[in-house]
Symmetry: C2
Subunit: 347 residues, 2 copies
């Protein structure tokens, strides 16, 4: 047995989780000493929820900025920064999925304003110090403690309207982060514990949520599982992550690509990771974790194969070359041939 | 299924864990900006280790104060405070078990000095905001964020010399906190994950450490498990904890009392806690967790029955009355009759 060695250095973050917790947003904003909070959301239904938050904040609200867009284009980030300055905001309340939280992070990076996040999806962005802004079709990402939300308010009622396909794809995306964290170089006993707990809850409750999205108790279980999965995001950067990233660069949808390749990447890596295999067997309650993940995917109303999401098989060599160049080593090296075989299986 | 609701609000703490990590103490002290650190330890062998830390700290050391005593008597706390002031210390480095860390906490409470803790036992005190000082044979405890060590340096090599009986008793003590956290009112998905992870590691490695205390890898596993168990200490305050506290007030040794009553309290409570039972079965890899804990205890070179640690059976009514007065409700109420039956079984 290899002796343990690790560093665990996690910044503080307050998490309030309850059905109906949205009603506590003013109290939590007060705890952060917000007196003029800018509410950040996406347009459309996001803006309606944003307005509700403004109303709940009452005198603590400085305004609503409902212009968040996926991948945080530079112009959108600049407009957000301007809105924060124009309203003289002393805090940010991000309500929505990864786009709203991503925009709030971009503003926080420039201003140092603290963020209170109210996530409505399973993206997990609210748990990380990772930010990203897209300019000239290139997403520049980085890490900064200033963008980590100080408080997360999870209200599972806000997820009741998530469509089954979105719940399934983003849930599988979160599971993918957990699986990969089991053999990540940067894993610690805490990330292992969090990922195990997340997978156990997802395995039990994600199929139930996809079957019936209106059950508050199972919605709560999945949102908790997404939070725990988010907390291991920062160590999940192996083959699964790299492959999803390269496929995303080719225009494939992120969560769906993660879901499709997950059983294949898992099958490939588990051969070299006996401890991870035991954990996955335990968390999923099965003998063959790769097959269990494939079965789970098969029952979900989302794309099953790379061909279903527009992957061009002629790009396999390009993808294989990109991955081989990344020199992934944990838990085993992935050669260009390995990647080609994997893409063929997933196609 | 009852819908989840909880608040998770954990302060920051840096944990550095590695065989030989003691050599990094000066770097970690520098990271905390200590320029005059007072090293706090117990007398005897604790003082020798304390002197080694002073030497490693070099110019960052203000001196060695090796006067820590179990339960932190008021006079000892006062002497520690005086030493910190006399040396003009700007930080505390506590090296040792619960006594050394407890004294550093008492000093931090009065001075606000940050603590760097180097634990050498499985007490878990380094992970909590709980402090205690004893005056007139009464221990006054409280919670204050000021006493939480900012950094913990875990070096499993420092635990190689822990006697088998001490490892066994303090390991069972830590397991008791985990078991109780499974049905604690204040449990969160994170405490559940940490406790599961801790028990899984203890179940596998504590018997190995008791059999051969010189194996560095299994020592590391047990120290990690103790850390994880410490992180759930703050929610573990049900029957197990109360009973051990009342027995401690009668003069019984703390860790040994915990170990002896654990299988009995577990058997009593599991009947009313099906989810906790499933978790324990999973973590211990067995069908009957109470029996598994009894088997573990039986193989350890520590007292097996309350009569072995000087419990006076005539005090059963007193103990039962104290517990009944505490009105414990989770996972089930414990009446005076229940407690008497439990004491008889453990006697």
């Amino acid at each position: 047995m290899k002796a343990l060695a690790f560093t665990h250095d996690v910044p503080p973050q307050r998490v309030v989780f309850a059905s109906g917790a949205l009603a506590r947003v003013a109290d939590e904003a007060a705890r952060l000493k917000f007196s003029r909070a800018l509410v950040v959301a996406t347009p459309g239904s996001g803006a309606r929820l944003g307005q509700k938050v403004v109303d709940l904040l009452g005198v603590r609200a400085a305004g609503l900025h409902a212009q968040a867009v996926i991948h945080v284009p530079k112009a959108i980030a600049d407009a957000g920064l301007q809105a924060a300055r124009a309203t003289n905001a002393d805090g940010l309340v991000a309500v929505g999925g990864g786009s709203a939280i991503g925009l709030a992070k971009a503003i926080a990076l420039q201003t140092g304003l603290p963020i209170l996040a109210i996530p409505t999806t399973y993206s997990g962005s609210e748990t990380t110090t990772i930010f990203g802004v897209t300019e000239d079709a290139r997403k520049v990402t980085g890490r900064d403690i200033a963008v980590l939300p100080r408080t997360i308010l999870y209200d599972p009622d806000l997820t009741l309207g998530l469509p089954a396909a979105v719940s399934a794809a983003s849930g599988m995306n979160a599971i993918a982060h957990c699986v990969e964290s089991f053999w990540a170089e940067g894993r610690t006993p805490v990330t292992l514990a969090m990922a195990s707990e997340s997978m156990r809850r997802f395995a039990k409750n994600l199929p139930a949520v996809v079957a019936d999205g209106s059950d508050r108790a199972v919605r709560a279980e999945c949102l908790v599982a997404a939070w725990l999965a988010g907390s291991v995001l920062s160590v999940s950067n192996g083959l699964q992550h790299k492959l999803a990233h390269v496929l995303g660069g080719l225009g494939l949808p992120h969560a769906e690509a993660h879901a499709i390749i997950l059983p294949h990447v898992t099958r490939f890596n588990l051969q070299a990771a006996p401890e991870a295999k035991a954990r996955l067997q335990n968390a999923l309650g099965c003998d063959n974790p790769a097959n269990a993940l494939a079965d789970m995917l098969q029952k979900f109303p989302i794309p099953q194969r790379l061909r279903d999401v527009g992957f061009d098989a002629a790009k396999s060599d390009f993808v294989a070359g990109e991955i081989a160049a990344a020199s992934i080593s944990a838990p085993r090296p992935a050669s260009a041939n390995d990647v080609r075989a994997l893409l063929t299986a997933a196609y």
